[in-house]
Symmetry: C2
Subunit: 331 residues, 2 copies
DNA sequence: CTGAAAGCGCTTACAG
DNA sequence: CTGAAAGCGCTTACAG
């Protein structure tokens, strides 16, 4: 590999000048700039990023911490983050934490050792711990990490939209399958749903609302749904709202196994609007998050000091009404 | 941040000695080692990786190039690669290429600029181009990139297993939905399936085998299946094999929409055995790849010179027989 | 406007 | 067995 020295020699200038040309320092005369650029091309010079990092103490790398990359929603987020970082000339260094706080902290330290430009954490730990000792800016995305600024969808508002949708369709016996209530997102989604539903019902009709805590995954939705649906038809819920599309797809499968027609006998709503939501049968009504915007903001916060205000950023959601919801049948 | 210099001062030794302790150089006396380690702990010293990289010209980073991280199969591979790299003390720098050869080459160059320890490429480009000009070892994973050594599942063998499975169940009117035949994996899977099936049929019964080229995604499976199934029941295939689980799930959906029972009236087989394969209804018979082993080998090849032999590595597959396949009904 | 020189933090022959 | 010193490739005040 050729170095600035080689380029300088070839162009007949000093290494300082080469460096200035490369950093677009405008105080270099056009003629010299030309000579240098020419030498760069001839030699196929590529700057040594390690040397630059050592000198400037900054590197065009963003660290990304993900609980589970094989979760399709996180995969989508990761894709958006990578795209935005790439657009801003940054590389993404990704680690997986298996949703384990111990691994998370180890991985974050490994990432920080690389002295990245910033860290985006989809959190697994939200305990009220002291912040990490580092100069590197940190922002949490989707799920809060410690007390760092969070960029996330409007979980409360999105769930409230679901509540309105089901209520206005006429459902009154409704079950909600939440995510882990130890997580902020689990609590917010449940709260948004239950609060709005109770508020709506308060001034009209009687409401039977069951809420069961689950995990965000397929199997959890499947298992809980089987329990909820294994009662007489006039007792079981006419609608099940969930905290994730995975859960909802689990519910869909349980309903299928139990010969309960969706949406005729049971309406189902998911959350996240993963790609798969449009590909199951029937297509899943779900709350869509603007992952592109979330990723954009997260990257932006890290790269511009100004944008790293302490307030959280909440991004609006959109309810996608599809085939898995309908008015309850008049049995 | 404290440096080797601070540690040296604190321990009352030279920086060279500190460095030797840190690199477990055995020629350091235990007493000194103790003193140094103590100083390291007291100061919370963390080595500056950029400086180390500059000096040694090696860095504990592996570059990973993925066509589309939101593809669940790739997500699973990425997860395994990250886990293995992490186990070997390496970070993963990941880029997405959107399956676009132009973006792929740009991204690879960006990655190489970081002088990583090695590059794992899930390829989008297999044209016979000259190799990249770099010292960095490169290996292709799952899909070949240029002419670099490939680590992949046994596509031919896996597809042959599917052919045997369907044939032995008694299917004789069979359709195959391939991936893009411009891709090596698309060709190999199709070839493995068709060759074995033809061979089996050759010495027993008449066989009607239709093969249609598709893409590896959900919609492709859905659309092609609709075409294949929109004929009289005694004309349509009793089994459809596909080149990916996504396609198979598309087929499943098409069959559902057309009121064709799976597996009674139609058997379906996927490929890749993504997590979702066990979560659709009925559970999908699919060819399982050993992604853990593939990832392990890929990382291993990059980190040990010895392992980077030029021969490709083909990893055995396992056919997972599930609910989506059965003997054809005796209509 | 350009060059000479210092220095980022580390590792590694080389002396002693 | 330990230390002094050079040097990885770059950037950046500072002189001129």
């Amino acid at each position: 590999m050729s170095t600035v020295k080689d380029v300088a020699q070839r162009a007949g200038v000093s290494v300082g000048t080469v460096s200035k040309v490369l950093s677009r320092n405008p105080t270099v005369k056009p003629a010299l700039r030309e000579r240098v650029m020419h030498a760069v091309d001839e030699l196929g010079y590529k700057p040594n990023l390690a040397a630059r990092a050592l000198r400037t103490n900054k590197v065009n790398v963003i660290g990304l911490v993900v609980p589970d990359i094989s979760n399709p929603y996180f995969a989508q987020l990761v894709k958006c983050v990578e795209a935005e970082a790439s657009k801003q000339g940054h590389m993404v260094m990704m680690v997986n934490t298996d949703d384990d706080p111990a691994i998370e902290i180890t991985q974050i330290n490994a990432l920080l050792a690389q002295s990245p430009h910033g860290l985006i954490v989809i959190g697994s730990t939200e305990r009220d711990m002291e912040p990490i000792k580092t100069e590197v800016p940190i922002v949490s995305l989707d799920r809060r990490f410690l007390n760092y600024k969070l960029i996330s969808a409007d979980h409360v508002g999105g769930s409230a939209q679901v509540a309105e949708h089901l209520f206005h369709l006429g459902h009154r016996r409704i079950a909600y399958i939440s995510g882990q209530l130890s997580t902020e997102v689990g609590r917010l989604r449940k709260q948004g749903f239950c609060d709005r539903l109770t508020a709506l019902a308060g001034r009209t009709a009687s409401l039977e609302l069951t809420s069961i805590e689950g995990q965000f995954d397929y199997t959890s939705g499947d298992e809980i749904a089987r329990r909820l649906l294994s009662v007489d038809a006039d007792k079981r819920p006419t609608a099940i709202a969930t905290a994730s599309d995975q859960q909802a797809i689990g519910v869909l499968r349980a309903a299928r196994d139990l010969n309960i027609d969706v949406p005729q006998q049971l309406s189902i709503v998911g959350f996240d609007d993963i790609i798969l939501a449009e590909l199951v049968v029937p297509r899943l009504t779900s709350v869509s998050q603007n992952t592109v915007e979330m990723a954009r903001l997260a990257v932006h916060c890290l790269l511009s000091e100004a944008a790293l205000s302490p307030q959280d950023h909440v991004i609006d959601t959109v309810l996608k009404e599809r085939g898995s919801t309908a008015a309850p049948c008049q049995a």
